[in-house]
Amino acid sequence: MKRWIALILLTLILAVPLMAFAEDSVPTVTGNAEAISAVQKNADFLWTLVAAFMVFFMQAGFAMVEAGFTRAKNTVNIIMKNLMDMSLGAIAYWAIGFALMFGVSKTGWFGTTGFFLSDYAADKDPWTLAFWMFQVVFAATAATIVSGAMAERTKFVSYLMYSVVISALIYPVFGSWAWGSLYKGSGWLEGLGFIDFAGSTVVHSVGGWAALAGAIVIGPRIGKYVNGKAKAMPGHSITTGALGVFILWFGWYGFNAGSTTAANTDTALIAVNTTLAACAGAFGAMIISWIKFRKPDATMTLNGTLAGLVGITAGCANVLPGSAILIGLIAGVIVVLSVVFIDQTLKVDDPVGAVSVHGVCGAWGTLAAGLFNADGVTMKMIGVQLLGMGAAFLWVFPTAYILFRVIKSTIGLRASAEEEREGLDLGEHGLAAYPDFQAHTEPTGAGI
């Protein structure tokens, strides 16, 4: 008997929600619109923030590539530069950069509201914070690119100064032209239809052209050019450099796929394009270095991977996977030719190839985003892409050049020759990265 009562009770309990359900209307998308949009909103926050954290991790990648491709005696200096361009750059971006880039822009040239993240104080909208978080790591990426091109000879305090100016001024102003409307701004370039989804130009070319200006103003490392001929200065750890490239590749999924700043299905195409371009970039660089130097060059192939990634950054959301392979492959070839041209013909000393990877391949990627547009290409589109590439160079190169000249003629840009020979680690930081190893110049002249 007891068993029967229990069974009836159980049936009733199970039936109650069913009866309630029957009274309600059948659930529909419109009927649950509010709940669905709340879930979507949370998903957008989650994806944007996770992507931001992945882009942040690219700082580790940049630090490892730069450290590995240079000599052991400058490693502490490189670690400090990469740590501080994020740390100071983020504060500068909070105070000034974000407002210039995404504040209300009456002219289309730069924003004028939202300094010190005051938008959040006004509207208490957590999206302001999530969006800022995603953007600040992009600003830090642009700033850190310069570090590699000026490695092994720059005075630390001068590095800190220009790093802040790039994050606070040079990067955000150009960014406002192309991306301002993602928040409260409105840039003249995006108004024309400029395509740069995740920043081939906005982040990479901007960083790359600033790096070019820096490398020109500071001059080559001691011993890099002897009687007008380029000398090799082998990096001290290909292992470290390769780890850095893999970290960057991983972070790039946040960089590109996160640039939707929304949890949606577009991310799949972007992730596939990003992968294929990186692979093709590595392959292209390997083949061309194999042909040119008789052996598949490891550091060039690693550069090629990054070249492919930079190349697909602009067009990752509007080209098809087959085009992504072509874009990456061409970027991989370009980067090797560009490194050799800048190193041996222009005689500009860029120890890690930052100008070629970010500046030159960023420009290529921007053009490619128009050329390979999945919905067809028009002359106007190509014209606007070219205009954007040119505008980036004409804004960044002169301002960065003036900035470096001003620093050079005031506090000085370059470490002393003695310090450079001894290694910046001891001179600038009083610490060796590898105290138990001999890390000084070898009789070969190349040194460790």
């Binding site: 090799a232 082998p234 270095s289 060039m300 190193d343 009789p443 070969t444």
Partner: protein, 112 residues
């Protein structure tokens, strides 16, 4: 007594050590060295720029032996260190005035 110094390729060290052990050598020391011989180093390419590696890494091993054993040791080292390719290295032989074993105070051939 003689002191024998041999400059050999890194990857030959174990082979030479095993060969010397077989003829009952009582001890040996090893140093990492860099240097050049008739080839004067070699060329490598880094990021498209050729550069000369002027000093190549080698291993230098030292053995002290009784006069009666010198020829045998030289033969063993020569055979076990040889690849037939350039850069196999060289053997140097010096007169050795005296040897003292620190723990026991033995001298001369007794100390070897």
């Amino acid at each position: 007594m003689k002191k024998i110094e041999a400059i050999i390729k890194h990857f030959k060290l174990d082979e030479v050590r095993d060969a010397l052990n077989k003829i009952d050598i009582q001890g040996m020391n090893v140093t990492e060295v860099k240097g050049f011989g008739r080839q004067k180093g070699h060329m490598e390419v880094y990021r498209g720029v050729e550069y000369e590696v002027k000093f190549l890494p080698k291993v230098k091993l030292g053995v002290a032996v009784a006069d009666s054993k010198v020829e045998q040791v030289l033969k063993v080292i020569q055979e076990s260190a040889k690849t037939g390719e350039i850069g196999d290295g060289k053997i140097f032989v010096y007169n050795l005035e005296n040897v003292i074993r620190i723990r026991t105070g033995e001298k001369g051939e007794e100390a070897l």
